[in-house]
């Protein structure tokens, strides 16, 4: 397969943007949590919960945007549980996160089977259609790629802007970064560390769930158990890759989605010297490499993983 030809193929870029969107949501969500000092390993399960609940909302007759909001609400609930455990009780963020992932994904599967017990072929909904931005989408070549996007991709880009602005240009963002770097100093400035961390984890988890909902509401039209398939874990690696900066999260998401897109293309071609599993492996391999390279700089939030207890040093 000719790689240079691939880069000029519009289908490749459309697929890349499609697959980057859930990663962007998830990465931004995880980034907010970690910037406030809380690692959220619940992401894989929270994405599954958003994936199922968003779809179920629409399947039960709700609107597509209603599904997005409902998914965000469910995500925020799981975020609240994670925050109660890690922020208020100071429990191990690793173990709690794994527990949330297990609970959220098994609960989504259970609820799905409860509400649709007889379904042998997965029932379908009508997902979001791509919106063409007038005139710009008519430009030959890049037009259909850059200006004919899923509304949820546009939402992700908007969220990216809001997160960037909120984090660096608002007092709330400053408080959030402070509790992630030095909660003691933040508290002495009158910042409620517990509250800020809880709100950050809830907001972040809501975004993760919306990322999951993108899969059922925009990318596909049905829900399958096991649909997240490690995307959440990749987001965690992407946060490190992005060195906790929102702008770099977009680059990272596009880069990893690109590999996914290449892999799909290779899989479609029946004869290939390299087994398709090697391409499927690439996002994971690159996540590890990215993690190693970026970890050396160690620019992570200083209070990440450290529980804050009032009056303790």
């Amino acid at each position: 397969m000719d790689l240079t030809a691939l880069l000029f193929e519009s289908g490749f870029w459309i697929a890349t943007i499609r697959m980057a969107t859930p990663l962007l949501f998830g990465t931004l969500g995880e980034l907010i949590c970690e910037r406030a000092g809380v690692l959220n390993l619940g992401i894989e399960g929270i994405m599954a919960a958003g994936c199922m609940s968003g779809w179920m909302w629409v399947y039960q007759g709700g609107t597509l945007w209603g599904g997005v909001v409902f998914a965000a609400f469910i995500g925020a609930l799981f975020g609240l549980i994670h925050a109660l455990f890690t922020v208020y009780l100071g429990l191990s963020q690793h173990v709690t996160g794994i527990g949330i992932t297990m609970l959220a994904s098994s609960l989504s599967s259970f609820v799905f089977r409860m509400l649709l017990p007889e379904a042998t072929t997965p029932p379908k909904i009508i997902p979001f259609e791509a919106v063409d931005i007038p005139f710009l989408s008519d430009i030959p070549g890049i037009g259909p790629i850059l200006f004919s996007l899923s509304p949820m991709t546009l939402l992700a880009l908007t969220v990216l802007g809001v997160v960037w602005y909120g984090l660096y240009r608002t007092p709330a963002g400053l408080a959030l970064r402070m509790v992630g770097e030095n909660p003691m100093a933040a508290e002495s400035q009158g910042v409620d560390v517990f509250l800020i961390r809880t709100l950050a984890v809830m907001t972040g988890s809501a975004l993760m769930a919306v990322g999951g909902a993108y899969l059922t509401l925009s990318a596909f039209d049905a829900f399958y158990i096991g649909m997240i398939n490690g995307r959440g874990w990749i987001c965690i690696a992407l946060v490190v890759f992005a060195s906790w900066k929102p702008g770099k999260a977009l680059l990272g998401a596009l880069f990893f989605a690109g590999f996914d897109a290449i892999q799909m293309r290779v899989q479609q071609q029946s004869i290939s010297l390299i087994p398709y599993q090697v391409y499927l492996m690439m996002p994971y391999v690159f996540s590890i490499i990215a993690l190693v390279i970026m970890s050396r700089k160690a620019s992570y939030p200083k209070a990440l993983l450290v529980p804050f207890r009032k009056g303790e040093r």
């Binding site: 709690t96 297990m102 098994s106 089977r113 409860m114 190693v292």
Partner: protein
């Protein structure tokens, strides 16, 4: 609210706390069972009956306990040293892969030599797989939670490639599975006509061995010290890096043994569904056991009862089998909270 450390925690409190936690988890699950339109009492009766009600049921439960002891020990040993090994699943498959390669004709040994040899090499494969993320952690500061997790996906894709490609059994009617292991590699069953096999005994010996290692050796002391306080251990001149590396080999090795045990004791051939997430359940087992190797035996048995019992209960009452996963997840969360409440008291204001 704030947390206040308790003084002199009684043994009763320590033992009762996890029991209470499991009880609360089961109570929460009852809500789901009621939602599914069944009585929780019937459900739990059927669950216990399905897991312990007959020799066959008990044999199935103990068969399920076996891999959970291995992966539970793997997580417990690593977590003691604060090495967050979430890669038990990948290490299990690494063990199973090497055992498949050696056990399907690469070597020819009599059974009494073959079986220990396969466990040792499978364990070595699992240990080496964990060695890579551990070295990345100790030397390059890369977080092992993410690297071990990502390795699970990579290893599973390798297994996928092997059983669909070069190792595919031509006699398997097109099913993606590897060639079966030779007769000398098959673990003997413990009871006639039951699936329970020698792996259980090996798992129990491993649990005892791990307990002795942690309790009675300098090495075990080092592991616990490094986990309890890394800075103090470094300051006191303990061999911190080498302790973490040795812990990794033991932890990965135990997970690798789970793969060998499932392969040679139960299936006889490698498939991509050899483990329904034993690596992840092992984390629950380790936490339920408060990271105590002997407690792992009980915790593994408990999780096996939930899994096997819920399976049979859900079939009888037509409730989704995912109820078992929900129960184990809730138990995990309840137990970690209960363990905190043993050590601390919550003061509102």
């Amino acid at each position: 609210m704030r947390l206040e450390p308790r003084q002199n925690v009684s043994l009763t409190r320590k033992l009762l706390a996890p029991l209470m936690a499991v009880f609360i988890a089961l109570a929460l699950c009852s809500l789901l069972i009621v939602w599914a339109g069944a009585s929780p009492f019937t459900a739990f009766y059927l669950l216990i009956k399905g897991a312990l009600g007959s020799t066959f049921a008990l044999s199935e439960t103990l068969t399920r306990t076996t891999p959970l002891i291995f992966t539970g020990l793997a997580a417990a040993v690593a977590f003691r040293a604060k090495l967050w090994n979430i890669g038990g699943e990948g290490q299990l498959y690494a063990g199973a892969c090497l055992a498949t390669w050696l056990g399907t004709g690469a070597i020819d040994l009599p059974a009494p030599v073959m079986i220990p040899f396969l466990f040792l090499s499978g364990g070595l494969a699992g240990g080496l797989l964990l060695l890579l993320p551990t070295l990345l952690k100790t030397h390059l500061k890369a977080d092992e939670v993410v690297t071990t997790l990502l390795l699970n996906f990579i290893v599973l894709l390798v297994v996928n490639w092997l059983v669909f490609g070069p190792w595919k059994d031509p006699m398997a009617m097109g099913w993606p599975q590897a060639n079966p292991v030779v007769d000398a590699a098959i673990l003997p069953t413990l009871l006639p006509k039951m699936r329970i096999h020698l792996g259980l005994i090996i798992a129990l010996v491993c649990a005892l061995g791990t307990w002795v290692l942690m309790r009675a050796t300098v090495w075990g002391f080092d592991i616990r010290a490094v986990g309890a306080n890394l800075k103090a251990s470094t300051f006191a001149g303990l061999p911190v890096t080498s302790t973490i590396i040795r812990t990794a080999i033991i932890s990965g090795g135990l997970a690798g043994c789970a793969g060998v045990s499932e392969l040679c004791g139960l299936r006889g051939y490698l498939t991509i569904d050899l483990s329904p997430g034993f690596g992840y359940s092992g984390i629950v087992v380790a936490m339920l056991a408060a990271l105590n190797p002997l407690g792992v035996i009980l915790a593994a048995f408990f999780v096996a009862v939930i899994q096997i019992g819920a399976d049979s209960m859900s079939r009888a009452l037509n409730i989704s089998t995912y109820i078992a996963d929900v129960t184990t997840a809730l138990s995990l969360l309840a137990v970690i909270v209960s363990m905190l409440l043993v050590r601390y008291r919550i003061r509102w204001r």
